[in-house]
């Protein structure tokens, strides 16, 4: 028997580093006193994320496959992983004050976030279905625990349980789909499947289509796209606010990366089979995100519907990428990456505002609580207004450009109807974003929110506000990075 080759570990260094650091910090936390452990491990996890970020940037360029082709690292992975790291670092920073205030400041919180990040990295880099599934489960399991981290609150426990049961259902659907794909092709490696389906003599058996649909359903659940969105509002509302902030960005980005890779790489040659499914999911999410959010009174629930809507716009880019013309497909993916990058900053900024909404050490989650904020705290009111305008897609803010690129890509590739629906739903969506602005500026002032705002929250607010306002002047770095990332998906 031939001796096995030792796998190339260089592309996996960030993952190995996060795994080792998180286990080390876990042991450290267990042996230290409680008061000492929490701050130390918070800094430890931030350092881990920072070091991982640096390593990610200095990794050798180009595509690297390892572990028997089940792990891939290229520019696309690096771009998505960098977004995941930025959003988790921001979530850790924003969490400190909230956790302290609710006596939830236990060190396991940061360990679970690190392990969830590790799971997301594995999802992003997966190049076969087993690696994908293991990453997905590592991530989801950490997220279930994080959702019910506030043990005293029944809402939080309910959120965790609901997320867990529906997540298990989605995992079941996913595995069922994968077994069908495996049964009809005999392999689970993405590159193998790409060339297998690319064979001109290959006629698509119905089993592969059923498998494909099941996989899309499970992935749509993970990105909370309609009609698989039912868990999102309840989980967003029930989970502790910093966890909701984390949920609305990092896992979304990882799952978006996953759905892009799964659709483009293994099923890239089946574009005409899945394009209509993605178009349907995209339209359903945009419409639901726009109309269901109108009646919401809880701002976390509102953000859940808003994120469903944003996912719908982002999926438009994927629908474009299903087309046969590679240059349009690349544009679609690029627009999608730019869109979720902008969404990341808008969402983080909005959640930083939500975390500032507290009176007398109690969190305020009602939208009406914002009334008259312009008189009590003009700076925060200004930032929140900018964020809402950007979410609504009003020029010259970043949110407008995100939508612009997506619609451009859709129209260019002939999906005019989809783009028109997108424009119409974003007009409807503007209603509830602007309602918040109206409440801030034109309603009688309520009691003031607690001051001072924690320095971390101020930092996140500043960065996201600056990003959104300045994107119009310096859009090139993001756009060119997204282009490089999108190109890595379409070799040759």
């Amino acid at each position: 028997m031939s001796s096995p080759i030792f796998p190339d570990l260089i592309p996996v260094i960030p993952e190995i580093l996060i795994a080792i650091f998180s286990m080390f910090l876990l042991i450290l936390g267990v042996f230290l006193r409680e008061k000492l452990a929490e701050p130390l491990i918070r800094y430890g996890s931030l350092i881990t994320i920072f070091v991982a970020f640096i390593i990610l940037i200095v990794l050798p360029e180009g595509e690297a496959l390892t572990f028997g082709n089940s792990f891939i690292n290229n520019e696309f992975c690096i771009y998505m992983k960098a977004l995941v790291l930025i959003s988790s670092a921001a979530s850790i920073l924003m969490a400190r004050e909230f956790l302290h205030m609710h006596q939830m400041d236990r060190f396991e919180f940061y360990i679970l976030i690190l392990l969830a990040v590790l799971g997301m990295f594995m999802m992003i880099s997966a190049n076969d279905f087993i690696a994908l599934y293991l990453g997905l489960e590592l991530q989801s399991l950490s997220l279930y625990v994080l959702a019910s981290f506030q043990r005293e609150s029944t809402r939080s426990a309910e959120a965790g349980l609901k997320y867990f049961i529906l997540g298990a259902l989605a995992s079941g659907l996913f595995l069922y789909g994968v077994t069908l794909i495996y049964g009809f092709t005999g392999n689970i490696n993405f590159n193998f499947l790409y060339s297998f389906f690319g064979d001109p003599e290959f006629t698509v058996p119905i089993g592969v289509i059923v498998g494909l649909v099941l996989i899309i359903g499970a992935l749509a659940f993970k990105i909370s796209a309609a009609p698989f969105h039912m868990w999102a509002p309840d989980v967003y509302q029930g989970a502790p606010t910093p966890v909701t902030a984390f949920f609305s960005v990092a896992p979304k980005i990882a799952a978006i990366a996953l759905i892009i890779r799964v659709m483009i790489v293994p099923f890239g040659n089946l574009g005409e089979q899945w394009q209509q499914i993605i178009i349907f999911i995209s339209i359903a999410s945009m419409v639901l995100g726009a109309f269901a959010a109108i009646n919401q009174t809880n701002i976390k629930r509102l953000m859940a519907y808003s994120s469903i809507g944003h996912i719908g716009y982002a999926l438009m880019g994927l629908a474009v990428a299903a087309g046969p013309i590679t240059s349009y497909a690349k544009d679609g993916i690029q627009a999608m990456l730019v869109y979720i990058t902008i969404y990341l900053f808008m969402s983080l900024g909005t959640f930083a505002c939500i975390l500032c909404m507290k009176r007398g050490d109690r969190m305020v989650e009602e939208i009406s609580g914002l009334s008259g904020l312009s008189k009590n705290n003009p700076v925060m009111a200004g930032v929140l207004t900018v964020l809402m305008f950007s979410m609504a897609g009003i020029p010259p803010l970043a949110g407008f450009f995100g939508k612009l690129y997506i619609f451009q890509a859709a129209i260019q590739s002939g999906l005019v109807g989809l783009a028109v629906i997108g424009v119409l739903t974003s007009v409807v969506g503007a209603f509830y974003y602007l309602r918040i602005v109206k409440i801030i500026y034109f309603e009688d002032a309520e009691e003031k929110f607690d001051r001072p705002i924690a320095p971390e929250l101020r930092g996140v607010l500043l960065v996201s506000g600056l990003f959104i306002v300045l994107f119009i002047f310096i859009p090139t770095p993001i756009i060119s990075l997204a282009e490089v990332a999108a190109l890595a998906l379409f070799p040759g």
Partner: protein
Amino acid sequence: MIIQTLAFYLFSSVTVFAAVMVISSKNPVHSVLFLILAFFNSAGLFVLLGAEFLAMILVVVYVGAVAVLFMFVVMMLDINIAELKHGFLQYLPLGGVVGLILLLELILSLGGFIISSQSQSSIAAPRPNINEVTNTEAIGNLIYTNYIYFFQAAGLILLVAMIGAIVLTHRSRENVRKQNISDQINRRPQDTIEIKKVTTGSGV
């Protein structure tokens, strides 16, 4: 050959019967017992396939650990079955329709199933000759080499499950009498024993 066929039908029919009983029996304890029966018969099917290692693992892990754990949970939780069954009829039509659609999909997709002519060439790991290596060795050769990544990832998932269980359930309760060995050893006689002179006839 005929014995093998008979054994296959015996094991598989008992497995299916036991699986149906798991979800339909009224008493949760019976459900767990049927689950154990299903596991044993699946283990028998593995033996028929020549995978005795998997068969033994199935018995040791699922029957020995998981089913016993289920049993403990069922007995400790005191689940009210009548309450759980409440609303069963109400959801039956919708659930039935969904089940029927899934069944139709299954039939449609598996109806067209043919074993691909390329299946031998696309197989991920060649099957070793069963006369040369035992199947424990064959699994070990793959798990710790080609599939080391999956193996380690699965380990991390179990770690998360463990952390999660502890985070969600562990509370440091007050007024619990715990043994603290260092306190016990560090106790000195002069801290705890008081010597009193008792004068005769007057008591303490």
